[in-house]
């Protein structure tokens, strides 16, 4: 794909943040549930990911698997 001119790339990049500023917030919360509850209380469209640290054993197994692969 041909390289975009710098000013076009710049305009595209800027627009992502400006687009956020002009859009209704849609939030995925990962971790502390209290932040999700605060968003819901403010009528923000939000969903919550109940995140748990990966079990240690799983990580060890994954490291072994990483090595094997």
């Amino acid at each position: 794909m041909p390289e975009l001119p710098t000013d076009v790339k710049k305009a595209m990049k800027e627009s992502k943040t400006l687009k956020l500023f002009r859009s209704e917030l849609k939030v995925i919360n990962v971790g502390l549930e209290t932040f999700y509850e605060a968003l819901k209380a403010q009528d923000v469209a939000a969903i919550h990911v109940s995140w748990q640290p990966p079990p240690k054993l799983e990580k060890e197994l994954r490291d072994v698997l990483d090595k094997l692969i």
């Binding site: 800027e14 956020l20 500023f21 917030l25 549930e33 969903i47």
Partner: protein, 540 residues
């Protein structure tokens, strides 16, 4: 009375879930006190001070959970423990029943494919992995997690900047996006001031004070304290300034941070000079005032404190409104001196020290800067000068300012803005010291914070004043409530609660700190120094 610790090996719940379970557990019939915590050093220290640590708890590791219960009657222990164990299981089950829950980032992205912001608060070592998955899908990230390795921060921010995305944080306590509070933030009116802040409670204080003088916030973007360090290079500071410069709703941009590293300062200054046209208020909380380049000096004003920065914004947006704005948050130097004299009236000659117990890191830093100029360097667990580091952060000496949000008070615990336990204990300790004249505290309102921060301290304030009074002393207690009437806790109600137990309330942190120095020194502060501080920090 019986105390028992039950240890659950390799059992994890986050500190907020555990705080709620602890609150519920205290309501179990026959239970006098309860604490359910992860077995970190800090948590064990708190249990010890509460008289609730036994040998079992002492032996727990930080991956283990401690159920600590104090009961009237030993026969109640078995039932109480079973009830708490049930609560622990429910934290997962109940959430699952109420609404759709997600257990992976992928399933959440599938359910909300048009998500435009992720709020991530997983432990720092996992933050890169989680945040990157969102960035790769074009989603902006507010990264609350702290202890994120700096190389991970650089990687995330470089990638985000390449894609035109925001990474707010790591360690970003506060953002206000499209008028909505993200993490710890206040409900402030929308308006024309866009804020970029590498200082979480700094963003809270300026947004709240802007609200009080009738101004509002277009966007408040927290970028995390490390962004302005050389290692990160101000990547997001520049990206956020760029976005606010292009944002039609923003008429003035405010930058709030501790002084950036020299190269970052140069980069930001150059960017402001060459790539922006809007007026700026730069608040680098530092020992000296930042001087903007000559060619932009008319457009960019510089303040050393949060109170002053807000008044500078008022002046820049509408010079005619400045005096009215100042009256809303400031009293005159004469009034301040009179107030201090009235508060100090009943103090004993030996009561000479200030003790500041902060939950907000930036507010405590502002206090250090002000005290340095008025009464010299003070002791702290996060001092300006290493020689003034408290040997034991749990014990104050001399004039001391404590940041209760530092690691030694928060490892495995909820932040003191949410969990008041550590500050309650500390306030009572300070009251026992006959050399203490005045204790000051911040009360942070808004989403994310404790649902009643003032109410949670009332009993401890009464107890502290009672201890002093039993020994024939009076203890001056000062408070600054950082919040608005629209916050869930309500500013007026919080201030009234504190006044009802004799707390003197101040509209801004800077004003409270200056007043406390005047009380502790009975007004005997070098007049030139006082005038300079009042000008720099209050625009008096």
């Amino acid at each position: 009375m019986f105390t028992r610790n039950v240890v659950k090996r390799n059992f994890f719940r986050d500190s907020l879930q555990l705080m709620r379970i602890s609150e519920e557990a205290r309501k179990i019939p026959g239970v006098l006190d309860a604490a359910v915590v992860m077995g970190t050093w800090t948590n064990k220290e708190v249990l010890r001070r509460l008289g609730m640590l036994t040998g079992e708890g002492e032996a727990a590791s930080e991956n283990d959970m401690i159920l600590a219960l104090k009961v009237e009657d030993e026969s109640r222990l078995g039932d109480a423990i079973s009830a708490v164990e049930e609560m622990l299981l429910k934290t997962v089950e109940v959430s699952g029943e109420q609404e759709q829950r997600y257990f992976s980032v992928e399933s959440a992205l599938e359910a909300m494919p048009d998500a435009n912001l992720a709020v991530v608060s997983v432990p720092g070592e996992y933050a890169r992995e989680v945040a990157m998955r969102f960035l790769e899908r074009g989603v902006h990230v507010h990264l609350f997690s702290d202890h994120v390795p700096i190389e991970h921060e650089v990687e995330l921010k470089r990638y985000a900047a390449e894609c035109g995305l925001l990474v707010l944080g790591p360690g970003a306590g506060t953002s206000i996006i499209n008028g909505r509070a993200i993490a710890f933030a206040n409900v402030v009116r929308r308006g024309e001031v866009g804020i970029v802040a590498a200082a979480g409670t700094g963003l809270q204080e300026v947004s709240v004070l802007l609200d009080r003088i009738g101004l509002g916030v277009s966007q408040g973007l927290g970028i995390g304290g490390n962004d302005v360090k050389s290692a990160v290079g101000g990547i997001m500071a520049v990206e956020c300034i760029k976005a606010l410069e292009a944002d039609a709703e923003t008429r003035l941009i405010m930058l709030v941070s501790k002084p950036p590293d020299r190269d970052v300062m140069e980069r930001i200054t150059r960017f402001i000079a060459e790539e922006t046209r809007k007026p700026f208020v730069v608040c680098f909380l530092g020992e000296t005032e930042y001087k903007p380049l000559k060619r932009i000096a008319r457009r960019v004003s510089s303040a050393r404190g949060l109170h002053a920065a807000v008044l500078d914004a008022a002046r820049k947006l509408n010079p005619k409104s400045f005096n009215a704005a100042r009256r809303k948050i400031t009293i005159s130097q004469t009034e301040l001196s009179k107030l201090a004299a009235r508060l100090a009236k009943n103090l004993k000659p030996g009561q000479r020290h200030v003790r500041a117990l902060y939950t907000g890191g930036t507010l405590m830093y502002e206090a250090l800067l002000i005290y340095r100029e008025l009464i010299g360097d003070v002791y702290s667990n996060a001092p300006l000068n290493e020689e003034m580091r408290l040997p034991d952060p749990y014990k104050s000496v001399g004039d001391a300012v404590i940041d209760l949000g530092e690691e030694e008070f928060t490892a495995g615990r909820a932040h003191p803005m949410i969990d008041p336990t550590i500050r309650r204990l500390r306030l009572v300790d300070e009251a026992r010291d006959p050399s203490v004249a005045v204790v000051l505290m911040d009360f942070m309102l808004g989403y994310g914070a404790h649902r009643d921060p003032a109410g949670a301290m009332l009993e401890a304030i009464r107890e502290a004043r009672g201890i002093a009074s039993a020994e024939g002393r009076e203890l001056v207690v000062m408070g600054h409530v950082c919040g608005t009437e629209a916050d869930p806790q309500g500013l007026r109600e919080q201030e009234e609660k504190l006044r009802s137990v004799g707390v003197e309330i101040f509209p801004t942190n800077a004003l409270m700190v200056i007043a406390s120095a005047l009380v502790a020194r009975r007004g005997k502060i070098n007049k030139t120094k006082l005038r300079k501080v009042c000008r720099s920090f209050l625009r008096m």
